[in-house]
Amino acid sequence: MENFAHVDELNLVLQLIESGEKEKLMELLRERLIECGWRDEMRALCRAYAKKKGRNNVTVDDLVHVITPKGREKSCISVTSNFAISTSASSVPDSVKAELLLRIQSFLKSVPLDAL
């Protein structure tokens, strides 16, 4: 079963890329995150972290951890439970997440994955 899941994912990824959907989704997500101020918040967090730790002591890894919401690993299916779990400062607004999820789901439904 595991293998199938991986193959599934691979197919999905390939399809996304090939159809250009992945790029569109990325753009959409980026745009929404800028609009809702998430990007500025994260920039401020990174700035504060860099100031505290010293400008030259910062690594990309550090910043990734700064930005990554704590509940990300536990993020599960529905939007509502996501809201409950990811309560750190860098949680994405629910509306943004919901929109993206819907978009992805519709894409998944539209493309028959076994047809590859």
Binding site: R47, K51, V60, L63, I77, L100, Q105, L108, L113
Partner: protein, 181 residues
């Protein structure tokens, strides 16, 4: 490559669409996070963030100033250090004015020591010898019940010490008359 599972089950199970969508979203989000992190990292390392730089500089300068101040003068002393208006003041203020106690012209920088002697408070200060204080001391020594307001500390000095500086009597005294000895 296309062998997903057997034809009986729907293509999307056992993993539901929501789960896959969620995973997909997480991937997208992670890419964006890494993008942001590397961008901020670049800005931080290259010092492109003006505010950060300025703040760091200010912190460094104030730390520096503090170190220097520890070595020499303190903040309040501020000798030969330009203040925020860019003015420097001489170490000893040289303005002159009149002492409100004795009325003599006094240099501002010497005002405190002058007051010490003038008001007789500090060490090595001679109390102002006037007739009233002398009488008061004499009377006290003899134990006579006279209410005297003699502000100076008692020194066993019953003589009138002639001092060369002309003084005007500045103290309040109780009402009694005296005879010039």
């Amino acid at each position: 490559m296309s062998a997903l599972n057997d034809g009986s089950s729907p293509p999307q199970s056992p993993v539901t669409i929501e789960q896959r969508a969620s995973r997909c979203f997480d991937d997208l989000f992670e890419s964006i996070i890494v993008d942001m992190a590397s961008e901020c990292h670049r800005i931080a390392r290259l010092g492109l963030d003006r505010n950060l730089e300025e703040e760091e500089e200010e912190l460094r300068l104030s730390a520096q100033a503090r170190m220097e101040n520890l070595g020499s003068s303190s903040e309040y002393n501020s000798k030969n250090v330009a203040d925020i208006f860019g003015q420097t003041h001489p170490a000893i203020p040289s303005e002159t004015f009149d002492c409100m106690n004795c009325g003599r012209p006094v240099t501002a920088g010497r005002f405190a020591p002058h007051l010490e002697k003038c008001m007789g408070k500090g060490r090595k200060a001679r109390p102002k010898i006037t007739r009233s204080t002398t009488i008061a001391r004499n009377r006290h020594a003899r134990g006579s019940p006279v209410t005297v307001f003699a502000p100076y500390s008692t020194t066993p000095n019953n003589n009138i010490i002639p001092d060369d500086t002309p003084r005007t009597g500045g103290e309040e005294l109780a009402n009694y008359t005296f005879e010039k000895p």
